[in-house]
Subunit: 420 residues, 2 copies
């Protein structure tokens, strides 16, 4: 089945908002084997919207529309959808109840905007919005599907996961494509490519089944996406499993997760199963590691505390780092990284302590200690050490790469690997 995506919103054409919604939707559709033919972004303009609806719904089996469902004057999608399908708006009790629930969470009274949001088009299925007041709509006409969702990313994502994808997954027919992504970190794209070797040795393209391997670099590491297309999903799955096995043979230690799994969630699971607690002492990553660890629900089971020791004084006062170490070696040094990791582990009485100290820039670099230099410290009851890294000259990228390397170090140690 073939789908296209229509993103509505002047903000996307001004360039201030990057269209992450379209990539999220495309990714989800591809995961269940639906081919995405095109993505179009248009403004909040009635005639443009109608014209695009007509053109895209005639050419595709599935059209997914986002944006323009809010309660203000510039949100016109709901009106235009009614015009396109020749239906009226009606008040919907379930939608009204949902809006009341959302408002009560936020301690807001029923208002004009809420009133407006409780009206939805006739003759369609309503997609419940668990996180906001704008409902979504699904129109089925002549075995084709036209789906409308709000443009607020988390609201749309929730609707996709809980309703749209399960629904489309149940009605899909024809050639399907399946994907699996192996997430690696701690290795460059070129080195990973060398390690894997010529891909035609294990990719199958025999006219019935076709498969590809894509290298997708990001600040968190290189993702390897395996894609297999076939009319038979079971066969596709077998081929995919075989390709995955080949790749894992050569790259296993760099793979931390699959698909959307984040490294902090992977570590969280291991910490819970091994009943080990962790604490962090951050300088250059500035709280990012603690923030990532606490993004995982249930992290309070293994995460006790974190310290962002930005100033030298705070390293001494909060972590018990010996002031003479800082004077002798500098705050960005192997010795201080080790003292920070050991310090946070001891004061929190946790199983593992990790630390970062580096130069995030753009100022503060010297020839010996350039911007991008990051020491990562690790301490458990058996040993304490630090490793040195260089992460380029972009402040935010240095923080992201530093946090990923620190978490990966924990993963490797937890899996029993000897680092140092």
């Amino acid at each position: 089945m073939q789908a296209s995506i229509i993103s509505i919103g002047d903000e996307l054409l001004v360039g201030q908002v990057v269209n992450t919604n379209a990539s999220f939707i495309a990714n989800e559709l591809n995961k269940i084997g639906i081919y995405v033919k095109s993505i179009i972004t248009i403004g909040d303009n009635e005639s443009d919207i109608i014209q695009t609806f007509q053109e895209f719904f005639s050419k595709n089996d599935i059209v997914i529309v986002t944006g323009g469902l809010g309660p203000t004057h510039d949100d016109i999608t709901k009106k235009v959808v009614c015009e396109f399908f020749g239906v009226n708006l009606k008040r919907d009790e379930a939608v009204e109840e949902n809006i009341k629930r959302i408002l009560s969470y936020r301690n807001i009274k029923w208002n004009r905007a809420a009133e407006e949001q409780s009206y939805v088009p006739e003759d369609c299925k309503i997609i419940k919005n668990n996180l906001g007041t704008a409902a979504g709509f699904l129109f089925e006409r002549n075995n084709k599907f036209f789906i409308v969702m709000p443009g607020v990313p988390y609201e749309m994502q929730d609707m996709m996961s809980n309703y749209v994808i399960p629904f489309l997954g149940s009605i899909i027919t024809g050639e399907q494509i399946i994907h699996k992504t192996l997430r690696t970190t701690g290795i460059t794209e070129a080195a990973l490519s060398d390690l894997i070797g010529p891909v035609d040795k294990f990719l199958i393209n025999d006219g019935i089944i076709s498969s590809t391997l894509a290298f997708l670099p990001s600040p968190l590491g290189v993702n390897l996406r395996i894609s297999v297309k076939s009319v038979n999903k079971e066969n596709a799955q077998k081929v995919l499993d075989k390709i995955e096995k080949e790749i894992r043979k050569k790259t296993e230690e760099y793979i931390y997760g699959i698909n959307d799994e984040e490294l902090e969630a992977v570590i969280g699971k291991i910490l819970i199963s091994k009943k080990i607690t962790i604490s962090v002492a951050e300088s250059c990553t500035g709280g990012l590691i603690a923030n990532r660890l606490t993004n995982v629900s249930g992290s309070s089971q293994y995460f006790d505390r974190g310290v962002v020791a930005y100033s030298n004084r705070s390293k001494v006062e909060l972590l018990g780092v010996d002031e003479s170490l800082i004077q002798k070696y500098g705050a960005v040094s192997e010795e201080v990284a080790k003292a920070m990791a050991e310090g946070i582990r001891k004061i929190s009485a946790s199983g593992i302590g990790i630390s970062t100290t580096g130069i995030a820039g753009p100022t503060g670099g010297t020839k010996e200690k350039p911007v991008g230099l990051v020491w990562i410290g690790y301490s458990d009851d058996k040993n304490t050490f630090a490793i040195k890294n260089f992460y380029g000259n972009d402040r935010l990228l240095i923080k992201i790469r530093g946090s990923q390397a620190a978490l990966n170090l924990v993963r490797l140690k937890l899996s029993g690997k000897e680092i140092k």
Copy 2:
């Protein structure tokens, strides 16, 4: 003048690569007053590309195409461009010289791919690629412009800045559009809309000048984008200033910045100018506030330390919170929020201490203290207080909203507002 953007590449339709190129181009075009009507993403498919070229070049004054200019088998854009304009490829000496220069930088010999890249379409202007081997092309036909660039972001961005934008800026005629975004927080979209009142009272649409106001909600707050279109840029600027003034009259206290300014950067500037330091004690936001503060370069001037006190024990040990307060009122309470803010301020000897304690969920909520409840504490040398908020039931959103509210509280206090 009206433009549309065509992004070519299968990777964009699979959804693992976000189309940041299109937003970059749209943003640059808007800055020089060119209105972007639509953005389309299509795959590396000849008939799709030709059809889209035809449709878009007939409807727009300017078409900008990126992607598919590389040297591998799936890059077909150059061939299709030749077909579309009815021209042949020819070898170009300047392009060849440029490729040699690029290859020598990287210590690579002349090869088949380089040979292929030295052929470019006839009857167009060549856009030099300073950073890569794929040249860009500019076709002028009947006072319309068709521009083709590679999809590698930094190569395209360099071409845009050095060639495309100066060129388009010099030939631009007719209507131009200017924008300004006012970033608000601490108020819902509906309440903001009520506060501003009917927009037609101050938006001017007189046939010569047209203006719009867009409400753009996000977890950080609602952005208000003012856009003004006119043939005279100075007049447009005057109208925009007037609209901004009208909106500010009613909403000033909610506006923290303009265009791309982040709240943490806004606060940073004030803290530096007032020579005040800040420290944070986070429970439910888990390090996000410290992370945001340290995203700003130069933040070490005013940010001394942060503590992520996740466990009750860490609140007592790190911040000196009285254990009996936690026993009596619970960790998520006004009293503990105040004690945390005061604690971090005192131990760090900083001017302002802020704190968060709440229930980020998904578990741990009760009827009296539901998921989403967040207490934000504030302490300076004059007073210490805490405010109560409800942020819905999504863990990551609760963290983001809590961090934004805490930073906004600091902004308001620094600007002399009485909160409590």
